[in-house]
């Protein structure tokens, strides 16, 4: 009797182990499949960028929707994040008698890291959800098929203008975010940390050099590609009606946000080793 129950317990354990293994296996397969499809989709979008037909009015419309539409969000986030950074740093620097370096620290932190990442995340949250939902809804109502039946490539008409708009607007939004965050730092420096305006700005300008500006603009440029690819891919591959579109939209925001943080790390690491002398 005891032997039988032992054998049953062992069998159950094996079954559970196998179920976990099967679940991991299935998840890995899905991930690999999705990654491959995303890669192939990205190649099609890039090919669409260099083809003859160019939808200029759609691109301008998307630039307006992405750029102007996200500006208030980016400025608001940048202003408060900049001030928060400045308060935290000014207190720490004051302990070492190095408060005058606040502008320098702000310049590096905001231009290299905070500005691009914050802008990327804000745009990923606001724009990628919009792109996925719009394209997904078009797919579920057969509008994409209708487009194909009228001889229009949906990738060229929908994905390419969004990619170009993102590539142009995300760096511009990042510059706006950097400016407002550094200005927020200046407000904190003068009103809370009792620093002089001249010291803050001159130390800030000291670190506004090629290397930092290069990283600060390279990052949003790269982020915009990832946001566009992920958001459009999720929209084009949405299935299962409104529920499927909702799921695709959530996935689009989550994946593009995580991707931005991961890519940010690798760009920082890569560029630091490549152009260390210019930083």
């Amino acid at each position: 009797m005891t032997c039988l129950s032992k054998a049953a317990t062992i069998g159950l354990k094996h079954e559970r182990k196998y179920a976990i293994f099967a679940a991991v296996n299935s998840w890995l397969k899905t991930f690999a499949w999705d990654f491959q499809q995303l890669f192939l989709f990205s190649l099609r979008v890039i090919r669409g960028m260099v083809s003859r037909k160019f939808y200029i009015s759609e691109t301008l419309e998307q630039m307006y929707l992405i750029g102007v539409g996200s500006l208030y969000l980016v400025l608001l986030a940048g202003a408060f994040a900049g001030q928060g950074f400045a308060i935290a740093f000014s207190n720490e620097l004051a302990d070492f008698g190095a408060k005058n370096y606040l502008g320098r620290i702000m310049s590096i932190a905001v231009v290299r890291e905070l500005g691009p990442t914050l802008t990327g995340l804000m745009v990923a949250a606001r724009v990628s959800s919009g792109i996925t939902a719009e394209i997904g809804a078009m797919k579920s109502s057969n509008q994409l098929d209708a487009m194909v039946s009228f001889g229009i490539d949906p990738i060229q008409k929908l994905a390419v203008p969004r990619l170009i708009a993102l590539v142009l607007m995300v760096p511009a939004l990042t510059i706006a975010c950097d400016a407002i965050a550094i200005t927020g730092g200046w407000i904190v420096a003068t009103l809370i940390a009792n620093m002089s305006t001249a010291i803050y700005w001159s130390s800030m300008k000291e670190r506004l050099i090629f290397g930092n500006l290069f990283i600060g603009l390279l990052k949003p440029f790269v982020f915009s590609f990832f946001i566009a690819f992920i958001a459009c891919y999720k929209g084009f591959s949405a299935r299962g009606g409104t529920k499927g579109v909702g799921k695709a939209t959530t996935e689009s925001v989550v994946i593009s946000s995580i991707t931005i943080l991961i890519v940010n790390f690798f760009i920082t690491k890569l560029v630091h080793s490549a152009i260390r002398g210019y930083l």
Binding site: M138, S141, N142, Q143, D145, A146, S149, F150, G151
Partner: protein, 256 residues
Amino acid sequence: MIQLENVTFAYDERPILKNVSFSIDETESVVIMGPSGSGKSTILRLIMGLECPQEGKILVDDANICVMNERQKQEVRKRIAMVFQEGALFDSLTVGENVGFYQIEHTRMSRSEIEQNVRQMLGFVGLRADEIIDVLPDQLSGGMRRRVAIGRALLSTNPRVMLYDEPTTGLDPEATEMVLELINKATVERNISTVVVTHQIPDAIALANRFIVIHGGEMVFDGDLDALRVCDEPRVRDFLQPFRESIGKVNQRQFV
């Protein structure tokens, strides 16, 4: 003109069509019927080259669409137009832009020329252009949306074949009658072939004299109304049972 040869199609390993074969001649009107989920709409998507079968051939004017690249398929699509389920109008474009979509995208015609064509087409489908040309599709009723979609398809390339996917589903009887009348009018006046997918038997009788019944992905009937009336295939009988009386009574309605 259109020929399906032993077409088998599965979606995500789920079989949709099994060994389906039939052909549609020039200026012929055919209705494909069957219960929901039987694979009727898939046939239209295959004919348009939006999907490719795992087995079999789809020939349009003797050319196999399954082996064509996207550019070659576009040439075929100039001869065939499709009205999708619920119209599939582009919801960010106005009615005018929807109807003139093909001409705006593919021709160098002036805006005024296109607008004139759009107005003419809206008149053909029985809508008042002045009232709706600048309206977005979501402000239209279901019946009006279907008629705009038919107008958009007709104005695209002057097609020789029109494919309609469930053109009257979800419409009230009055709107249904108007859409059926319009489909018949387009078929007769433009002398084109019509393939209609529907599960509404009365609509089917009003639209064609040849009927194909698909059940569980298999073609179980292909013939005229008289043959349909006396068909003793169990799956056809089951499908037609609720409409047996109307099939017995109704002769083909002629709108035009």
